[in-house]
């Protein structure tokens, strides 16, 4: 019973996260200016991280947690580097 409830919840939540990633991808392609694309990329990183956590619950292994942590780190570094680039025209001065 509880396995069935969890299976349904994880499936629904993965569908929601996939739709969210699709919306971010739409803004990434459409977004009129560069800052919109960077913002959509940041939201896409968050969606991917949450998707990996739901995969971890589905398979019951904690290995996915480390991949999610790495994705969160890379999202922060890449978004701040891109924001710096938009501000100054170069990343490392």
């Amino acid at each position: 019973m509880s396995a069935a409830i969890l299976l349904w919840a994880v499936t629904i939540s993965q569908i929601f996260l996939a739709l969210a990633a699709l919306c971010c991808g739409l803004r990434l392609f459409r977004g009129p200016r560069a800052q919109d694309r960077v913002l959509a990329l940041d939201a896409l990183y968050v969606c991917a991280m949450l998707m990996l956590l739901t995969f971890g619950i589905r398979t019951g292994s904690t290995l996915y947690f480390e991949a999610a942590l790495v994705i969160a780190l890379l999202g922060f570094v890449s978004t701040s580097a891109l924001a710096k680039f938009l501000m100054r025209g170069e990343v490392i001065e």
Binding site: S2, I12, L17, Q35, A43, V46, L53, A72, L86, M87
Partner: protein
Amino acid sequence: MSHAADLPLWAALLVALLLVLGSGLTLLGAIGLVRLDSFYKRVHSPTLGTTWGTGGILLGSMLFFSMIEGRPVLHELLIAVFVTVTTPVTLMLLARAALYRDRMEKNPEVPTFVAVAERSSEVVVKGTKNGEPEKS
């Protein structure tokens, strides 16, 4: 999902509720990212996913692994702390960069520099370096 068969029913219901809450809030934030009409409105909407979206899924994951392994599993707190600390920093950097770009292009939708607006009736402003108003 055979590993979850011996989970008590209340824990399964709570984990399911937290998962659906978190992913639903993330989806709402992403829909806002598509539908809102200016960048300064859009910059608010992904934070729905990074606060309770992440929080719900991380709480569900913590509860699930704690019940499965029979001991407190708290390493998801690392992601929670990290996301909470970094999201305001990145979005503020991004908003400042966007504001700078809009001001450089004389976009009428954003307010101009304070120093420029005050002195615009007098003389041409000199000595603006990298768009920052000169300290006087």
